[in-house]
């Protein structure tokens, strides 16, 4: 949980003054809170997400590199939790079966 996962912002919403959005993590999409980066992040930007919260903006090259390193390290734990999580995303954005275990031996 200490290593954030980079993803691309694909939707932005304002839930009654609470900025949220949909973030794409290498094909797996998930809601994230954008409140901490609201002033600097738009659609198409890359962010580092810790347990559902975007914490910082990064450039695309850094995001891709970090994601691959996490994949190699089998450290995409948070994406596994998505598979186990109690409130699945709407059907159109649910990860494909097996997608969240990508990179694991």
């Amino acid at each position: 949980m200490c290593l954030g996962i980079p993803g691309r912002v694909v939707e932005r919403r304002d839930d009654g003054g609470f900025p949220t959005g949909l973030v794409d993590f290498g094909g797996v999409r998930r809601e994230a809170c954008l409140a901490y980066v609201a002033g600097e992040v738009g659609i198409g930007d890359y962010v580092i997400v810790h347990v559902g919260f975007a914490i910082s903006k990064v450039d695309e090259a850094e995001a891709r590199r970090t994601f691959e390193v996490l994949r190699e390290m089998s450290r995409l734990d948070e994406l596994e939790w998505i598979a186990d999580a109690i409130e699945p995303a709407p059907p159109d954005v649910r990860p494909a079966a097996g997608a969240t275990r990508g990179g694991h031996p």
Partner: protein, 371 residues
């Protein structure tokens, strides 16, 4: 040099290693704070490649590993209640408490749910108004902004059946505790890149100054760590002791200001026990009185649960660098990831699990693991 093939660019790694070896006039002892860094160091054998120039002591930076037994037992007590839905990040489920773990409570019928984000737990509370939903708020400064926001949002939305069992810890007091221990050998630190992405590094500046110790904010890839090591060695050889930033592509001096502000608004510093280490003054977070209605310990009266750590697990010695995991008598025999004595063997960020998995990686499953 057998592990160099795993690097993305072996030539750069080799150049960094040679540079460190060339400038080191003696062996320097340093500590990496982050469990992700420990994983990289052990996996790539960085400590072996630099033997004689750098000795690495693996620090306490694994949030699962330092959560004290007492808080695990409180979690187990809450999870067993019929009126409670207990929610947690996935990697806390197998951490052993005094009698069992959360997974076993779930198997016996306890309502234990894995969530991806604390906001999922809050949503669960809104949809189940007849139940109490408790979230296990663990971690370092990387998860504190998320947990702070969930509590802040619960108050804003008036969700009364949501609370958090807080077991947050912060890095700078742990560094101070290590530096002030009578048998401390650490001469320089690689600070945790993602923690500093949130918090910045101003808190580390007085520590570097007061204890005359170099602190380099470092990422968690092999190249990051080698470069961080080089920057520490350069300072030590020059007799300097300042905070420097290796992880420039992610970390700013002031951190992520809105996240810091929300953490400070919701949480206050308290003394906190660390698993295997004991109490470190002002090293933990708890909810401020304005948010007491969301504090599971106060809501459910858990203050009476006081637990001491088991003697056989030597997590404290490992976390403070006195013991390398393979030298522990229980390592790989009575303590394995399948049957862990302590949290260091459970989490992928734990030093014991890192060494255990490395041994499997090197020896091969068929021959088993005997260090």
């Amino acid at each position: 040099m057998k592990y160099l093939s795993e690097y993305r660019d072996p030539a750069i790694a080799l150049a960094l290693i040679e540079r460190i070896r060339r400038i080191a006039t003696r062996q320097w002892t340093m500590m990496e704070v982050c469990g992700g860094q420990t994983h990289t160091i052990v996996r790539h054998g960085l400590d072996e490649l630099l033997e004689g120039a750098v000795e690495m002591i693996h620090g306490p930076g694994c949030p699962v590993c330092v959560t004290p037994l007492e808080q695990i037992d409180k979690a187990l007590a809450l999870a067993a209640r019929r009126d409670v839905i207990f929610t947690s990040f996935g990697d806390m489920l197998r951490v052993p408490g005094s009698d069992c773990d959360l997974q076993q409570v779930r198997a016996r019928g306890g309502a234990v749910r894995v969530v991806y984000s604390p906001l999922d737990a809050l949503e669960l509370a809104r949809r189940n108004p007849e139940k109490e939903v408790v979230f296990f708020a663990v971690g370092f400064e990387t998860t504190a902004p998320a947990n702070a926001m969930a509590v802040w949002r619960a108050r804003e939305l008036g969700v009364r059946n949501f609370s958090v069992l807080v077991s947050h810890v912060t890095v700078p007091p742990a560094i101070t505790a290590i530096l002030t221990a009578p048998d401390n050998r650490v001469q320089g630190f690689l600070a945790a890149g993602h923690v500093c992405t949130v918090m910045g590094w101003t808190e580390y500046e007085p520590i570097a100054e007061r204890y005359r110790v170099p602190i380099v904010v470092t990422g968690f890839e092999p190249m990051d760590i080698l470069e961080g090591m080089l920057m520490v060695v350069e300072q030590l050889e020059a007799g300097r002791h300042v905070v420097e930033n290796q992880y420039v592509r992610s970390v700013r001096r002031e951190g992520t200001v809105p996240a810091r502000e929300r953490v400070e608004e919701v949480f206050e510093l308290v003394d906190r026990k660390w698993r295997g280490i004991g109490e470190i003054p002002m090293s933990g977070l708890r909810l401020r009185d304005e948010f007491a209605a969301f504090d599971a310990e106060r809501k459910f009266g858990l203050g009476g649960i006081v637990v001491n750590e088991p003697a056989e697990c030597r997590a404290g010695d490992v976390l403070t660098g006195r013991l390398k995991p393979p030298r522990c008598a229980a390592f790989g025999t009575r303590c394995t990831p399948e049957h862990p004595l302590g949290a260091l063997m459970v989490s992928t960020e734990g030093a014991c699990a890192a060494y255990y998995n490395l041994a499997r990686h090197r020896i091969g499953e068929s021959q088993g693991v005997t260090t």
